[in-house]
């Protein structure tokens, strides 16, 4: 167009050219057909996009879209058939390469063709519901190349072959694999699945079935799991490199099923290398591997968990019923704690802190700890040992750790009331003998018990502490008031114990030496002066005394003895020789206690401040006792006969057990009454269930006992039986 003179634009109504040439369609199509061929021959550089686009547009505009479309199909199909022949004729490895190359070329051509025919794609194709050009190109490729009889099977076999090679350790051309697989994916999910994925999964299943059988015959559990894990990772890696990401779940399922699920029982129970062995030997890595692999299959973890549970129960049961173990309670409890630590570590290092495993561990411990009825007593003894000396010099945090571990064992106990009874006894002894390593530790444990069991559990224990403190104040007050007049006399330390808080002991009176009884009386009147309405009784069986004694060569020793022993020894201030009966008469100490007392004074090497005639181990009622002025010891302070908490003897144990049973009766009754008061009417089985639930934090009530209590309550007219239904009870207000 020249710049000088522009034709003025006359706008007219828009009219398309009307085609009159009958050969118009053929001529136009031939231009396009030629173009398609040139494109396939990679000869597009001589073509004009604008011209081709315009021609296609015109064909569609003038209603020759059908001719254009079918022409496209025919041309493309014939080209693809040629391509197919060329791929077929490729030999060996060149097969996939040729396929891949041709596919790339086809894609490039297809895009150009689509661009040229875009007007048809946009207008003619949707209105006639035909397949758009690009999809048509893919479908024709699929039908004429991939599904060609000479190519389809060969392609699949080649792909599976390559994968097999890779599985046996050879290196394959992953890039080429990826391109070919991607081609299948591009052709549609059903092509990928039918022409590759399904056969792939079947072949893989067979492969792993065979391989797993071989492995399991010759490997131990740990090795087998290593191999299985390796194969699993390999498959995942394979998918990430050249398969459709959605195949990952499917192939891993195959591996899991063939290598793990099908062999689970055999693996877990394998002799010398199975789960139990791994647990015993703390094989964290193997256990972790087992956990990670088994969690992938149904019932995998529950199988592991069940085997672990029954193993722990077995081990625990042996522990608690082994007669050797039971001899040393502290050792017994320590072993329990060690076992718990062991399994805690296994669960945290190998089992991913899995809560279900933690629960299984807890229930196992609960099961076997309660198999031994003395567990509550032993745990209390363990605590006693720790609080007396075990925790000496230990940092505050470490103390807490130990106490928390004890609490954890405590929680497993079914008979917590038994523990309470023993704990009270042991605590009393510790407090009264002043033998506790740390007041803070004692308090801390009480707080933990309170948090666990409630105020009621610990109120009496706290009362004991309060008494100790109050007594200190009382004694101070006593000496402030009377200090002057007492002057040189013996120093008195009194602990005033509130009867309900402390373990019940029958009070055994005895005759105190004169100096002391005066002092005690003075204290009694001082105390009662400030606390009216109270009664004091001296617990001479629980006291201690420090005496200074001088022996023959002038050696002085300070003897720490029990009150009874003090009474006996003080008699020797006025006599060198006394008979058993004389001692008995003077002190009025009951026989069994007296014998024990004399035994510890006369028959124990290194502590024999008295001599006995005749020399023998036991105390006879005809024995005589002499002051042993030849007594020597390298220590200035000599401790004789401390009151240590010991494992109870058989009869003592029976007694405690009986007391516990007695204490339970009112608790059961109180629970029954509480329940019936709110429910008014309830049947027998439900009462048992409710009562058990209410009391379970303290102990497990015996249904027979509950029945007896119900009978007793009926007698006392708290409840009545329903006249019609003998199993129904009613509350009587």
């Amino acid at each position: 167009m020249s710049n000088q003179r522009r034709k003025p634009f006359q706008i007219e109504a828009f009219k398309h050219r009307v085609v009159v040439d009958p050969k118009y369609a053929d001529k136009t199509w031939r231009i396009l057909e030629h173009a398609i061929q040139e494109i396939y021959n990679e000869n597009a550089s001589g073509l004009s996009f604008e011209e081709l686009y315009r021609n296609a547009y015109n064909m569609v505009l003038h209603k020759y879209g059908e001719k254009l479309y079918s022409g496209l199909v025919t041309t493309m199909t014939s080209h693809l058939k040629d391509i197919s022949k060329s791929i077929e004729s490729a030999q060996g490895d060149a097969f996939l390469e040729e396929l891949n190359r041709k596919w790339a070329e086809h894609n490039k051509a297809l895009q150009m063709i689509r661009d040229i025919l875009m007007y048809m794609d946009r207008t003619f194709v949707p209105s006639t519901h035909k397949t758009p050009v690009y999809d048509l190109g893919l479908n024709l490729w699929r039908d004429n190349v991939i599904h060609a009889s000479s190519i389809q099977t060969r392609l699949l076999n080649t792909l599976l072959d390559w994968i097999q090679q890779e599985r046996t350790g050879e290196v394959i051309n992953r890039g080429l694999m990826r391109n070919v697989i991607k081609m299948l994916m591009d052709l549609g999910a059903s092509v990928y699945q039918e022409d590759f994925e399904k056969p792939f999964l079947d072949v893989s299943a067979n492969f792993y079935r065979v391989e797993s059988q071989q492995f399991i015959e010759c490997c131990d559990c740990g090795d087998y799991l290593k191999k299985a894990e390796r194969r699993l990772n390999e498959e995942i890696e394979r998918v990430s490199h050249y398969l459709d990401v959605r195949s990952e779940a499917k192939i891993t399922k195959v591996v899991e099923r063939e290598m793990i699920a099908n062999h689970m029982p055999r693996l877990v129970h394998m002799d010398n290398s199975g789960l139990v062995n791994m647990l015993l030997d703390d094989k964290y890595e193997d256990l972790g591997r087992m956990y990670n692999l088994f969690r992938r299959v149904d019932n995998g973890l529950s199988t592991v968990r069940d085997v672990m549970t029954s193993h722990i129960r077995e081990v625990g049961k042996q522990l608690v019923t082994d007669p050797e173990r039971v001899k040393d309670p502290v050792e017994f409890v320590q072993r329990l704690l060690d076992e718990k630590d062991k399994y805690d570590k296994i669960i945290s290092s190998a089992f991913n802190n899995d809560k279900t495993f933690q629960n299984a561990l807890n229930s196992s411990f609960e099961y076997f700890i309660n198999l031994n009825a003395r567990s509550p007593e032993f745990i209390s003894l363990f605590v006693d040992d720790k609080l007396r000396k075990g925790l000496k010099g230990v940092s505050e945090e470490d103390v807490e750790v130990v106490l928390d571990k004890v609490m954890m064992l405590f929680r497993y106990l079914q008979e917590k009331d038994v523990f309470e009874k023993y704990y009270k006894q042991h605590l009393a002894k510790r407090l009264l003998s002043g033998k506790t390593v740390s007041d803070d530790a004692e308090r801390s444990l009480i707080v933990k018990l309170k948090t666990e069991c409630g105020y009621q559990f610990t109120s009496k224990l706290e009362g004991m502490f309060t008494d100790m403190k109050t007594s200190q104040d009382t004694i101070q007050g006593f000496y402030t008031n009377h200090g002057a007049e007492l002057g040189d006399g013996p120093t008195l330390v009194v602990q005033v114990l509130t009867t309900g808080s402390w373990p019940t002991q029958p009070s055994i009176p005895c005759n105190l030496p004169a100096e002391l009884s005066l002092l005690c009386e003075k204290f009694r009147s001082y105390y009662l002066g400030t606390h009216t309405g109270r009664r004091l009784s001296w617990q001479t069986n629980m006291g201690t005394a420090d005496i200074k004694a001088t022996f023959s060569k002038g050696q002085k020793h300070e003897l720490n003895v029990s009150t009874f022993q003090m009474c006996v020894l003080m008699l020797f201030n006025n006599a060198d020789r006394l008979s058993y009966r004389e001692i008995e008469q003077a002190t009025e100490i009951p026989a069994p206690e007296l014998k024990r007392c004399l035994q510890s004074l006369a028959c124990v090497k290194g502590k024999n401040v008295l001599r006995k005639e005749p020399m023998s181990k036991d105390i006879g009622e005809n024995d005589d006792f002499l002051f042993n002025d030849k007594f020597s010891s390298k220590f200035y302070k000599v401790k004789i006969g401390t009151v240590v908490a010991q494992k109870e003897s058989e009869p003592e144990k029976q007694e405690t057990r009986q007391r516990v049973e007695e204490d339970r009766k009112p608790q059961i009754e109180a629970a029954i009454v509480r329940i019936m008061k709110s429910r008014k009417v309830l049947d027998h089985n439900n009462i048992i269930a409710e009562v058990t639930k209410q009391l379970q934090s303290r102990f497990l009530p015996n249904p027979v006992e509950i029945k007896k209590r119900i009978e007793s309550l009926i007698e006392r007219e708290f409840l009545e039986r329903d006249s019609v239904d003998r199993k129904l009870y009613r509350y009587l207000a």
Binding site: P8, F9, I11, A13, F14, K15, H16, S48, F49, R54
Partner: protein, 172 residues
């Protein structure tokens, strides 16, 4: 293809000002002043311009431009351009525009006048199928007006004729 290295590409079957407007729209998403482009001050000219632009928009796949032109043409249907607009709508698949045109042409007042335009001759040549559609349309329209004139005793509220058929124009 060789277009990549060609300095000048010749585009056939489009008037230069139309192509210019097309380019403007591609870059600005906005139409230039039609009257300025058309070079004349009449409304009629800008309507014809819209026709050209609609064809170009359809050819090059500019959907929004096509809709804008369609809207303009729907408003500006007149005796002197109804036939060519109808042909345009038919060839370029503008269903709404087509039905507006059909309705316009088929109405009693307009039919005879439109049939006498040059555009109508063009329509007969280029889109013969539209003529038969138009005929059907005309038939329905006259049925409708017959019933309005009082053939039946009570005209049905939904514009149905005495046989109970709906006479509302179908959308093509």
């Amino acid at each position: 293809m060789k277009d990549k290295s060609t300095k000048c590409i010749i585009v056939e079957d489009i008037e230069a000002p139309v192509f210019k407007a097309l380019l403007h729209f591609i870059y600005w998403d906005d139409l230039p002043d039609m009257q300025e482009l058309a070079g004349l001050n009449s409304k009629g000219a800008s309507t014809l311009m819209a026709q050209h632009l609609l064809a170009a928009a359809d050819r090059y796949g500019l959907e929004r431009l096509k809709l804008l032109c369609e809207a303009t043409l729907c408003e500006d249907v007149a005796i002197n351009n109804a036939a060519t607009t109808l042909a345009l709508a038919e060839q370029h698949h503008c269903s709404h525009l087509k039905s507006v045109c059909l309705k316009f042409v088929a109405s009693c007042e307009n039919l005879r006048a439109v049939m006498q335009t040059e555009g109508f001759e063009y329509l007969k040549l280029s889109c013969p199928s539209v003529i038969s559609e138009l005929l059907q349309f005309v038939a329905k329209v006259s049925e409708h007006s017959m019933s309005l004139v009082g053939f039946g005793s009570d005209p049905m509220p939904d514009c149905g004729d005495m046989n109970g058929r709906r006479v509302k124009p179908r959308i093509f």
